[in-house]
């Protein structure tokens, strides 16, 4: 196999010039100054002209700027509501079994026309670890991980026990995640 074990470079002998502390210190100061001056000029430039290219500032100025959320992001789990108003969930209980910390509680029931639906669906947001195993287990695309990461904290734990109504989200809003699931998750399991 290519590649080998190589010894590291310890620089055990330093010249007198390097032994005096000054040259390397000056080199270090030049490194940090080379970060400082473009940013410094950039601040004034951005203030007066609004152009921010030359700055190397890495900070995202939350909440005025929001970070980029990729398609694969696992936010709060939500239930999908069909366009006709019904939930897609058929209360099969797979997500309840698949959840590692056991934060989902389902009581199923049957409608008059024979279809199943969850009479009560509770997801405890304070226990959920946002792992996404429920989404992978669901055969109906009924529970997906949305892109929500804000407004999840409450002052009272009871408020974090989400019931079915607070979990339902219309399918149009979750189209991006559903596409990601179809193309990159379940679609890649074909063989």
């Amino acid at each position: 196999m290519p590649g080998k074990y190589i010894p590291v470079n310890r620089e055990a002998e330093m010249t007198l010039w390097e032994k005096s502390y000054v040259p390397e210190i000056i080199r270090g100061l030049i490194v940090t100054a080379s970060h400082f001056f473009p940013n410094f000029v950039g601040v004034f430039r951005a203030y007066f002209t609004g152009k921010t290219e030359k700055r190397k500032i890495m900070t995202i100025y939350y909440p005025e700027e929001k970070p980029f959320i990729p398609d694969a992001y696992r936010g709060r789990p939500v239930l999908v509501r069909n366009p006709d108003g019904r939930e897609r969930c058929v209360a099969c209980g797979l997500c309840e079994v698949a959840c590692p910390p056991k934060c989902i509680f389902i009581i199923g029931a049957k409608r008059k026309d024979g279809t199943r639906y969850p009479a009560s669906y509770n997801l405890d947001g304070s226990i959920c670890i946002f792992c996404g195993l429920c989404e992978a287990a669901c055969p109906e695309e009924a529970i997906v991980m949305s892109r929500q990461y804000e407004n999840l904290a409450e002052y009272d734990r009871g408020l974090m026990l989400y019931d079915k109504e607070s979990l339902l989200v219309p399918a149009e809003k979750l189209e991006r995640r559903l596409q990601h699931i179809r193309k990159r998750m379940f679609g890649r399991c074909t063989y």
Binding site: G28, T32, H35, V43
Partner: protein, 369 residues
């Protein structure tokens, strides 16, 4: 009988007024402007060096002055924190330690000239609060007193970590006192005087600036001054990750603010001393006071002097600002020494180099004559 070269006349009302104005000016500049603004500058400069924005969210009625209001919020927050004395600590010593740390840093500025000599309304005005003829020795004497503040704080806190910090403070500051004094002897030999105003005036010619005559002395004095101030890379007494906060672990509220302010005030003092001794003080390069006065001649006699005064004072503070920037840059870039390496550096490297500097300066002066 002693021979005095300069006998001050008896004070009259104009002199008293001038003295009060100078004191008020220096006090306002230091306490009112530099100490708070340095907190802001440290935050913003470190942020820009690290590709961040820094603190700029505090606002008053919707106006964020780019983060300047954080100075106020810091001060108010520190004022309102609980002021406690740990159980078993020595109450008197715990309380006066911050005072001992802050007061010398303020006093040291009295002998530093921030401008030259001007003639205003017939009076000779010397822009220094106290023109001592042994100016720099006064500064050394006063800053040595600040050692007590740290050591007493370390002992009086009844805490093992603080004790370690206090021991380190005492040892470090004591070691660097000697080297600091010796590294400046070369400057005195070159300029022939201990009086800071004379040294400043002698640097009117750009090529007579101290940095050209004493580059080694500059580096040595800079290192010793950083060690006296307990800033990185010499902040062993305060090492944040080793000793939590060193000798001021058990301080909060206004007492903590005083330690913190003492550090910032010493930054300004060091920058001012460096400016006066090595970088020409208030002199603009290649421009003498005469040419400035004649440039502003259209403003009249006093007016031209006053205009020259303002310009030179502004140049002085600009140079101080640049040196403060350099100190902040060093603080945020370098790692810190280990305790025994600090001692090693002070006694075995800087002290012999300072003696060597004196020797070389003597040879140089002998050869030049």
């Amino acid at each position: 009988m002693f021979e005095y070269s300069y006998i001050p006349p008896a004070p009259l009302l104009p002199e008293i007024l001038e003295m009060m104005l100078k004191i008020v000016f220096i006090f306002t500049m230091n306490m009112g402007f530099f100490a708070p603004v340095l907190g802001y500058v440290e935050r913003k400069q470190s942020a820009l060096m690290q590709d961040r924005i820094g603190a700029n969210r505090a606002d008053l009625f919707g106006v964020t002055a780019g983060g300047l209001l954080h100075i106020m919020t810091d001060a108010i927050k520190l004022l309102f924190k609980e002021d406690f004395i740990p159980r078993g600590a020595d109450k008197l010593l715990h309380t006066i330690a911050p005072l001992i740390a802050v007061v010398p840093a303020l006093i040291a500025f009295t002998v530093i000239p921030f401008g030259g000599t001007y003639v205003l309304w017939g009076h000779k005005v010397n822009l220094v609060i106290a023109d001592l003829d042994m100016g720099i020795l006064f500064i050394f004497a006063v800053t040595s007193l600040a050692t007590y503040g740290g050591a007493i704080a370390g002992w009086a806190s009844n805490n093992n970590w603080s004790l370690l910090g206090g021991v380190r403070v005492a040892a470090q500051m004591f070691s660097y006192e000697v080297a600091m004094g010796l590294s400046l002897v070369g400057v005195f030999m070159v300029f022939g005087s201990l009086r800071l105003t004379e040294i400043g005036m002698a640097q009117e010619n750009f090529w007579h600036w101290g940095i050209f005559y004493q580059p080694l002395g500059f580096i040595l004095f800079f290192a010793c001054a950083l060690a006296e101030n307990k800033r990185v890379p010499f902040d062993v007494p305060e090492a944040e990750s080793e000793l939590i906060a060193g000798y001021f672990t058990e301080y909060s509220g206004l007492k903590f603010a005083m330690f913190w302010m003492a550090e910032f005030l010493e930054i300004v003092t060091i920058a001012a001393i460096l400016t006066v001794l090595f970088f020409g003080g208030w002199n603009i390069p290649f421009v003498t006071l005469q040419s400035l006065v004649s440039f502003f001649g259209f403003l009249g006699d006093t007016g031209s002097q006053a205009a020259a005064m303002f310009l030179q004072v502004a140049v002085f503070w600009l140079k101080v600002g640049a040196l403060i920037f350099l100190q902040m840059l060093i603080r945020w870039s370098l790692p810190r020494f280990r305790y025994d390496q600090v001692m090693n550096l002070g006694w075995k490297i800087i002290l012999p180099l300072a003696l060597l500097n004196i020797f070389l300066t003597g040879l140089f002066i002998l050869a030049a004559n």
